[in-house]
Amino acid sequence: MTIALLNAQLVCPTGGASSGGVLIDGHSIAAVGTFAVPDDAHVIDCHGKILAPAIVDLGVFTIDVPACHAGGIVRVGLMPDQTPVLDDPGIVQRAALIGRPGLWIHPIAAATRGLAGKDLAEMAINRDAGAVAVGTGERWIADSGVMRKVLAYAGDLGLTLIAEAQDGGVLGNAVATAGETATRMGLPAAPSLAEPLAIARDLMLAEDTGAKIHFRTVTTAAGFDLVRAAKRRGVRVTCGITPAHLLLSDIAMSDFRTFTHLSPPLRDESDRQACLAALADGTIDILCSGHDPRGPEEKRLPFADSAHGMAGAETLLALALGMVRDERITLQRLIAMLSAGPAAILGLETGTLTVGAPADLMLFDEGAPWLIDADKMVALAGNTPFDGLPVQGKVLRLWKGGAALR
């Protein structure tokens, strides 16, 4: 089937912004810009709205198709912290196929068996079963010797290690960042130092082994300084962040609202400003939702007893567009951070508007206003720290491999 999307504003991470259309032939993009519309093509007028590669969300914790589609997400990198853990080819393969055709799930296999941080997992076998990267999950590999072997072995296979940047010893049972807010609330807290400590070690190991490492979220000034310096040295490091860590500081936790119980925990305002600076100077490579829907059974509890995590998939684009309106990044850069960037880390051939690329596309209205309402979210649970926030930006249409999803 041939579809001609006409009269759009095209935004491509590699091709830049232009006016024109995209011709979809089967699963792939057949033409971009101005082209002769075939007679049998199904023509869709985009009315001047923005047509861009659909979102690749690196690091979701739950498979949540409706939330992803509402948010313009057609591919996700699934964290290995599942039940059971993604450390076995059968489990990896099942995860890889379960969302198709509408949502392509790219499993991040556990780097160590059971994510226990002791023995290497079968990375090559899991890669052949569909894993696109290996990860530490939300855990910290405390043993530096193990971490070194993990990076060396993953490097052999060309697999990126998706690492959690929190020193588990310093973190302890903390649910908040040490500082005035946590002190006033009387919550178990860890210094933000837990993050750069972990990053420093892992960067040295990555540099030594030559492996590729991606920190799922970096949220501290000291953490970004380390990543920035490592990039200058040529270390193969990338990092991501969620809109929550860009837009909220730990003051948002003040009324004990468990929807603000996140991992890593919200930081103080100076670190948040460092996140915004790292976004602007390009230190942050990608934006991710950290999608982790948690129902009232896990959230309607005292703060420290509640599960961490937020439902982020359907608010990712709208919150990120705010960064463009605030002129912190360009729209083209934002689209790159949501599509080509994460695709490159996971080794996926998608995320651009180029001939031959998969027709993973989203059409959105960057100005359409709506109100984030926890009770009205399509996600498995509405645990968003942005409940009640007015935002702009709505996905109008969505295609995965040429098939219309929305």
């Binding site: 040490a178 500082g179 005035e180 807010t181 946590a182 002190t183 006033r184 609330m185 009387g186 919550l187 178990p188 807290a189 210094p191 004990f256 059974e297 309607r300 509890l301 005292p302 703060f303 420290a304 007893d305």
Partner: protein, 329 residues
């Protein structure tokens, strides 16, 4: 004794004096609201010292003490306070309740609410738990301690003790020493005492000092002897046994060496400085017996006495709306 702190509360009518439905913490209370509760407690100090201790104002009301964390002293104090006002007091111990069978805190709260309690007193091991319950029930809720967050009645009784013994709280130099990191008593006292313009110092080893504590308007010290200079009040905190064996401090005796309140150390404070402790004490660890039992300077048993009076005042004030007291309905 007449309270010397000026209180605008007396000039405000009825519920305008204290517009809060619950007492979940000192945070959120204005200085005159704290003073109002202290003033209200004075009458109960006098009454409790008399031979006829009963007042009937809470007759017919049900007070549930829901304690999700073990307590003897605070529970007893709330029970006596309720009974002296003739409330029907029921104690729920979490250790023997369905909470251990997996019932959620919210379900427990809804159950207590369905039993039509008129006032609920809650202690819970998690910070913020009391507020979570307060949002779900129809009657006033009193926080008897939630995690490391707040213990408002303790701060009120401490403030009352200081005010009665020192004549005022204003400009009093108060040193709070011990496990500040895990202490709800420290947090509530910091809020109450700084609100009433005391000069508050906190003293602890760095391992037990919360980050950013100076932002609460106090001066942190790691050296106890320095902190004690010029102190009018020395408030020692209890050190939990499980935190002494190497986790946060190396040992009992090492803690005593650095932070134990001895007579020799006490001499560094102002002559006649008041010694306080929320109890239960670890004698020989954070406080020596000679200090704890000091006839002139120790106010530790007086704190317990003030506790009952303060809790009577809180129970009275918080139930005034439901009892239809003139000016409060």
């Amino acid at each position: 004794m007449q309270p010397s702190d000026h209180s605008p509360a007396a000039s405000l009518p009825g519920s305008a004096v204290f517009p809060h439905r619950h007492l979940t913490g000192i945070a959120g209370l204005k200085p005159h609201e704290i003073t109002f509760l202290l003033d209200e407690a004075e009458q109960w100090v006098a009454a409790n010292r008399g031979s006829k201790k009963n007042d009937k104002r809470l007759r017919g009301l049900t007070q549930i003490n829901a304690f999700f964390e073990n307590s003897t002293r605070t529970l007893l104090s709330f029970e006596i306070a309720g009974k002296r006002l003739r409330a029907d007091v029921v104690n729920m111990h979490a250790a023997t309740s369905s909470v251990k069978k997996g019932e959620t805190l919210i379900d427990t709260a809804m159950t207590l609410n369905a039993m039509r309690a008129d006032v609920i007193v809650i202690r819970h091991g998690s910070s913020g738990a009391v507020r979570l319950i307060a949002d779900k029930v129809d009657c006033p809720v009193l926080n008897a301690g939630d995690g490391s967050h707040e213990h408002p009645t303790q701060a009120l009784l401490d403030a009352l003790t200081i005010r009665r013994r020192r004549g005022t709280i204003h400009n009093q130099r108060v040193v709070i020493c011990g496990d500040v990191l895990h202490s709800r008593v420290a947090r509530s006292n910091i809020l109450a005492l700084t609100s009433l313009s005391a000069d508050v110092r906190v003293c602890a080893p760095s391992t037990l000092m919360p980050a950013g504590i100076e932002r609460m308007g106090v001066t942190p010290f790691t050296d106890f002897d320095t902190a004690l200079e010029g102190a009018d009040v020395v408030m020692m905190l209890r050190l939990q046994n499980e935190r002494m064996a190497g986790g946060f401090v190396p040992s009992n005796r090492e803690f005593h060496l650095r932070y134990g309140l001895t007579l020799k150390r006490l001499a560094k404070a102002q002559p006649g400085a008041l010694v306080m402790h929320p109890g239960p004490m670890n004698r020989g660890v954070e406080i020596d017996s000679a200090v704890a039992d000091h006839v002139d300077q120790s106010a530790i048993t007086e704190q317990v006495e003030m506790g009952v009076a303060v809790r009577m005042a809180c129970l009275d004030v918080l139930t005034r709306r439901s009892r239809g007291v003139k000016g409060w309905a």
